[in-house]
Symmetry: C2
Subunit: 146 residues, 2 copies
DNA sequence: CTCCTTTTCTTGAATGATTCAAGATCTGAC
DNA sequence: GTCAGATCTTGAATCATTCAAGAAAAGGAG
């Protein structure tokens, strides 16, 4: 895993105020890629740099602000709650296990800007192509069913 | 739009019992591609062939049964509720308008089995690649904002 | 450093899609 | 026609997410 970037600089660079909850959330998302909001709330509250509590509402607000600023990316495969990751900018996608819901990163097979040119875009102006691969993860393959 | 297929035959072919609610739901999904559950419930209740009411629970159950049988496909872009379509089997994808949520079909630019070979699948056994294009629909382009 | 404005966080409640549960009804096979 | 099991009805519960109003903190100006 890469070293933790300077979260404070990231926030300032995005014209966002630097607050403890934001630093904690940013750190939590970085430390737990693909974690859902609930897990992030727990991680933030376990963070030593945050003495008191952090309300769940604050985490929701911060996640939205960070997503809007492009510092984190929100993913939400069908049947799952929202999940977040700090890996942004590169064009990578995800494999989701149908059995246990595990998510893993994958680089696109096609190239840097995958599938971005739809054959017939129906007049839509497309700015992003999101790819979700569905399958079964190694764990669920070796242990077929319980 | 293609002619309505024989829904009863479709159900029997999938080893599903033929009931009025199922025929009505199948017809509603066929008539309203990309409709959400709520819209489908309304469509089903407006269906003349269904005299009495049909409970929302029945529609949920039917949608799940039809999806499991592969007669319909469930899609759920981030931030949207579940939507359904009868176009299955071909490998097509969707464009979603960030502004109004409109969904339109698109054929894959890459080929018949798009992106299905991830460069590094992390040990996952992939069986489907789902592509969602994000952008702005024609209506929301001409009428930028309200 | 102190004050002020605006943004952000806390507390507490509400929303709404979806699911759970138990019993009644209907389907399809014999 | 009868029967077992699948399916539907009714009614309530779940839970991620959002809404709302006031308190607290951030950052720029003086």
């Amino acid at each position: 895993m890469t070293a933790a970037p300077d979260f404070e600089q990231l926030l300032r660079g995005a014209d966002l105020r630097v607050t403890r909850p934001r630093l904690a959330v940013l750190g939590a998302v970085h430390a737990h890629p693909h974690a859902d909001t609930d897990a992030l709330i727990s991680a933030v509250r376990a963070d030593a740099s945050v003495e008191g509590e952090v309300s769940h509402q604050a985490v929701y607000d911060v996640l939205r602000a960070l997503t809007a600023a492009g510092l984190i990316r929100r993913i939400q495969p069908s049947g799952s709650v929202a999940r977040y990751e700090t890996r942004v900018g590169d064009n990578h996608h995800h494999v989701v296990c149908r059995s246990c819901g595990a998510i893993s990163d994958v680089d696109c097979a096609v190239g840097h800007v995958p599938c971005l040119t739809a054959t017939d875009d129906n007049g839509f102006v497309i700015d992003e192509a999101e790819v979700v691969y569905w399958g079964t993860c190694p764990d669920c393959i070796t242990v077929p069913s319980s």
